[in-house]
């Protein structure tokens, strides 16, 4: 989450006070990302240093100081909005590593390992869904944030399910694959 760009977004609507930025940030993200005041002012100082925002020179650092976005800040914001985040290289996913390790250990039931993680993820999803059930109909930002979390967790569960199916098929026909293929081994080394 880029606090820096979220603050630029809020300032693109007009000049604002620091404490106001914090409140609006939290409201716009469905109160899911709490932000402390220190974080807001540190970020504003950096934005000011980079000439992306400006403030009244005369005013003291404090709650009465008003910040506004500069033309350079507007450009930076537009560029950020249209730049996809870096999703190209596979992350070093701890869960994937755990399952790969479980696969190599004698006496470990990998399906049980998968199930421990599946249950935990479903429990997390239940909590997010409950939040959406209670307030999501009235708070669009919250519903969007919760959906994003639910889809992310769901994709991990789908991977666990696919892994479970793949392992079951491999157990029924041991010749289909050795536990780690050379390609996978090479990638893991590259990511280290």
């Amino acid at each position: 989450m880029s606090v820096r760009h979220a603050l630029l977004g809020l300032l693109s609507e007009g000049p604002k006070y620091g404490h106001q930025l914090r409140q609006e940030f939290e409201a716009r993200t469905g109160d899911v990302w709490p932000l402390n005041v220190g974080q807001v002012y540190t970020t504003l100082q950096r934005l000011e240093r980079d000439d992306l925002v400006e403030s009244d020179e005369a005013a003291d650092d404090g709650p009465q100081k008003v910040f506004r976005i500069t033309p350079e800040g507007e450009r930076e914001l537009a560029e950020w909005l249209h730049t996809p985040p870096d999703l190209t290289s596979p992350p070093r996913d701890e869960l994937v590593i755990k399952v790969l390790v479980a696969l190599r250990l004698p006496g470990v039931d990998v399906q049980d390992v998968l199930q421990v993680h599946r249950r935990y993820l479903v429990e997390l999803m239940q909590q997010w869904t409950r939040l959406k059930e209670d307030e999501g109909e009235f708070d669009l930002a919250l519903a969007l944030v919760v959906d994003a979390e639910l889809f992310r967790l769901d994709s991990v569960i789908r991977w666990l399910d696919a892994a479970g199916g793949r392992l079951k098929r491999a157990a029924a026909d041991p010749q289909t694959s050795s536990p780690t293929t050379p390609l996978l081994r090479r990638r893991l080394v590259v990511r280290r």
């Binding site: 709490p34 974080q39 249950r119 869904t129 409950r130 569960i157 399910d161």
Partner: protein, 240 residues
């Protein structure tokens, strides 16, 4: 007290070398007002569990108790009456009758149970009203969208005095918004005191449930703990 109780339920098909064990000693208890999801991969026994819970199939061993009455030894007529009066089914492909309007589809189970036409229609309209479908009452299934058809199927499942809803992949072919709408409706029925079991492989659907039971190779292998308050997740999600 639980409304639906499955005790040590096993089910096998075939005999000898070709015998297939679909369920092994399954125990499941669902209270009034509770929504329980059963998750598992295809072939794990989910649908078998649901058809046995709904008295559409008999277990090889074990017992099913609905509203305090054991299905064991219950006559065929008794079971048929139980299915008509107490249990509502929701299927993946809606199973609406094409020649009947939405309202007629919903009132049909009541009329089959001997409720008079006028009373059955009034109850059907009340159920459709609750699901925001009154203006679709005179439409035939092929004049409805997929989401609307499934809402009609839910109205049919909860109409009258039904106390148990059994749903098999209820959002099967629907998009995520309609899937969410389906689960909100089933949850609303539970808040009015119905018990519901939803079997699905979809974690997003299952996450609407109070409790999620995991099935693998015909056995209950795990279930979720009662969820903490929603606020607790916000405390953990503070990210810079």
């Amino acid at each position: 007290m639980s409304f639906l109780e499955m005790r040590n339920v096993s089910k096998s098909y075939g005999e000898g070398a070709t015998e297939v064990h679909a369920l092994h000693n399954v125990n499941l208890s669902v209270d009034r007002g509770a929504l329980v999801a059963v998750m598992g991969p295809s072939g794990s026994g989910k649908s078998t569990l649901l058809t046995i819970a709904g008295s559409l199939e008999e277990p090889t061993s074990g017992e099913v108790v609905i509203d305090g009455a054991s299905l064991e030894g219950m006559s065929r007529n008794g079971k048929a009456r139980l299915r008509r009066r107490t249990i509502g089914y929701v299927f993946q492909d809606f199973n609406l009758l094409a020649g009947l309007t939405a309202a007629e589809n919903v009132s049909l189970p009541l009329e089959l149970d001997g409720v008079g036409g006028r009373k059955a229609s009034a109850q059907a309209m009340a159920a459709l009203d609750e699901l925001g479908l009154v203006d679709r009452a005179t439409h035939f299934p092929d004049e409805l969208s997929g989401g609307e058809r499934q809402r009609v199927a839910i109205a049919r499942a909860v109409v009258g005095e039904r106390h148990l809803v059994l749903a098999d992949e209820p959002s099967g072919a629907l998009d995520s918004a309609n899937g969410e709408a389906v689960m909100r409706m089933i949850l609303a029925a539970c808040k009015r005191g119905l018990a519901a079991v939803v079997v699905t492989h979809d974690a997003q659907l299952a996450s609407w449930a109070d409790r999620v039971v995991f099935l693998r190779d015909g056995r209950v292998v795990d279930q979720t703990a009662p969820p903490p308050s929603p606020e607790s997740i916000l405390e953990h999600s503070a990210r810079p």
